[in-house]
């Protein structure tokens, strides 16, 4: 049954870290440079492609993004932009982190950019202590270094008159 005519309808199977399989149309998968490279090399599309770092929930989101962008390549950019901003709206930080890691791993540039921008927006206008909590970063500064920083932030984050 395999023929060049059917290439457009070709599907491949992706497997998430928690063992769920996703059947994906090839043109949707091509949004990912990682998958594109795998398909370009001798990787058979009949094989199941394991994505050991991406859980099912995140992978479903990623594939939703890819499908919209693959199907809408000829449609208006404005529509895609509003899809992108809706897509990330109300997403919690844990989900965003997973998404940005998945986009980075699967090399989906557009998704990486919007997710990175969304996370970057949460860093804006926040003192470093708050950023530390949101991003689960351990403070490895000494108390002296920390004191110097506090003095500085007093100026940076005092309310404007």
């Amino acid at each position: 049954m395999a023929s060049s005519i059917e290439n457009n309808n070709e599907k491949l199977t992706l497997k998430s870290s928690d063992g769920e399989e996703f059947l994906v149309e090839k043109h949707v998968a091509l949004q990912s440079t990682l998958l594109q490279n795998m398909l370009d090399s001798d990787c058979s599309s009949a094989d199941v492609i394991p994505l050991p770092k991406i859980d099912a929930r995140t992978l479903a989101l990623v594939l939703g993004y890819c499908k919209k962008h693959a199907d809408a390549s000829s449609s208006k950019q404005g529509e895609l932009n509003s899809f992108d901003s809706e897509f990330l709206k109300d997403m919690d930080m844990g989900a965003l982190f997973n998404l940005v890691l998945a986009a980075n791993f699967m090399e989906i540039k557009g998704l990486l950019d919007i997710a990175a921008q969304k996370i970057a927006d949460t860093i804006k206008d926040k003192p470093h202590q708050e950023v530390r909590e949101i991003f689960h970063v351990e403070n490895d500064y000494t108390p002296e270094e920390e004191a110097a920083v506090r003095e500085e932030n007093r100026w940076a984050f005092e309310g404007f008159p």
């Binding site: 859980d55 980075n104 990486l112 970057a120 500085e152 404007f160």
Partner: protein
């Protein structure tokens, strides 16, 4: 058949105990964070600090982290007490920032700017000037002996040159005086400016550029250019800086050590185009076209008088009277990238306000220094 929909599965949430984002991915995120917010981000942890610094040295197609030439706009009321505000445009993040408080000097006298980097104030009682990136430090000197209303003021190496602009009742309205920043003394025996610069008030009709050894003055309307070397106190010129006879306004600046000429081409019907040339500093010959402003941006300039502010590879062109739109150009290896940015501080100003423009290369250390030592606060504006 498998489905693309998400099933109800137990989701493994990112570990609460360890930092989920690090390395390249953290740098990618930080490259979307405005410079003023990177200062607190660098205090999160030592690994964040190194991620902040390495992200600032990377450029991708989507983000140019090295684009750090800020356009700084001081808005000042024309009457005492000269109420002043400071705003800056950060091209890396496309944000306008309000910087408070403005330079304390602003409250006592009229601010002016010269050759992109020098902000100064000249009054009968003193000459004050500042050329650090965020204008945190000011040097205060005794005034020149000849009183002048709007002379050429320029910093060349360790010298500050004051030339011309004197009132006719003075003994020599064309006198040149040079202040030595290191010895803090004036040299009053520096001759006169060429007579054909006599009737041009500096801030409106002259364009000034400097490098470490020379001062260049171009009369905007004629393109006539003079050079002055403070070490030898010698003038050269005039040289005709008009590679195209249709140029109606010539402005000059240094970009990464290269003298550039921006020529406005137009006639009575208005502005027709803007072109940029490189200029040989010794022969004053134009060495070829660097770039040409797209016509849709030319339309935003409207009038045939422009000023220019340059920092590194970024050129800002604006109408000194209006400046509602500032046109920028990034000079790259592969050619010029053009764009424009709305200058809301110019749109919101009333007729009693003057605008003073400078351009500075601003690094994270400059912002940090301003927060820590200069007691400056930075507030991003969403216009």
């Amino acid at each position: 058949m498998a489905t693309e929909n998400c099933k109800e599965v137990e989701v493994e949430v990112v570990g609460d105990q360890e930092a989920p984002l690090h390395g390249d991915i953290l740098e990618a995120i930080l490259s979307h964070v405005p410079l003023i917010d990177l200062v607190p981000a660098s205090h999160v942890s030592k690994s964040w600090k190194s991620a902040v610094f390495s992200s600032l040295h990377q450029s991708t197609a989507a983000t140019n982290n090295k684009l750090n030439q800020w356009l700084i706009v001081h808005k000042q009321r024309v009457r005492s007490p000269y109420h002043t505000t400071t705003h800056a445009y950060d091209p890396r993040s496309h944000v306008w920032i309000e910087i408070t408080p403005p330079p304390s000097i602003g409250h006592v006298s009229i601010l002016r700017s010269s050759h992109s980097t020098l902000l100064y104030s000249l009054s009968p009682s003193s000459l004050s000037f500042s050329s650090d990136p965020l204008h945190l430090t000011w040097h205060h000197a005794a005034p020149p002996t000849t009183w002048r209303s709007d002379p050429v003021v320029a910093a060349v190496g360790r010298h500050v040159i004051i030339a011309g602009g004197g009132c006719d009742f003075e003994d020599n309205p064309l006198a040149v005086e040079i202040y030595d920043v290191e010895s803090r003394t004036w040299d009053r025996t520096c001759g006169s400016v060429p007579a054909n610069l006599k009737d041009s008030s500096s801030s409106t009709w002259l364009s000034i550029a400097t490098n470490n050894t020379k001062l260049f003055i171009t009369e905007k309307q004629s393109g006539a250019t003079h050079a002055f070397e403070p070490d030898t106190k010698t003038w050269s010129g005039p040289f005709d800086l008009r590679p195209d006879p249709r140029i109606c306004c010539s402005v000059i600046a240094f970009s990464n050590g290269r003298l550039i000429l921006i020529g406005l081409i137009g006639d009575v019907d208005g502005l027709k185009g803007v072109k940029m040339w490189g200029v040989n500093c010794d022969t004053f010959e134009c060495e070829g076209l660097i770039g040409e402003m797209p016509l849709e941006l030319v339309a935003k300039l409207k009038r045939e008088n422009s000023s220019v502010c340059v920092g590194g590879s970024v050129v800002y062109v604006y109408d000194p009277e209006g400046a509602e739109e500032v046109i920028w150009c990034e000079l790259g290896v592969g050619g010029c990238r053009w764009g424009s940015v709305r200058c809301a501080v110019a749109i919101e100003r009333n007729r009693m306000d003057r605008l003073v423009f400078t351009c500075s290369t601003v690094g994270i250390e400059d912002v940090e220094k301003a927060m820590r030592w200069g007691n400056r606060r930075f507030r991003p504006l969403r216009w």
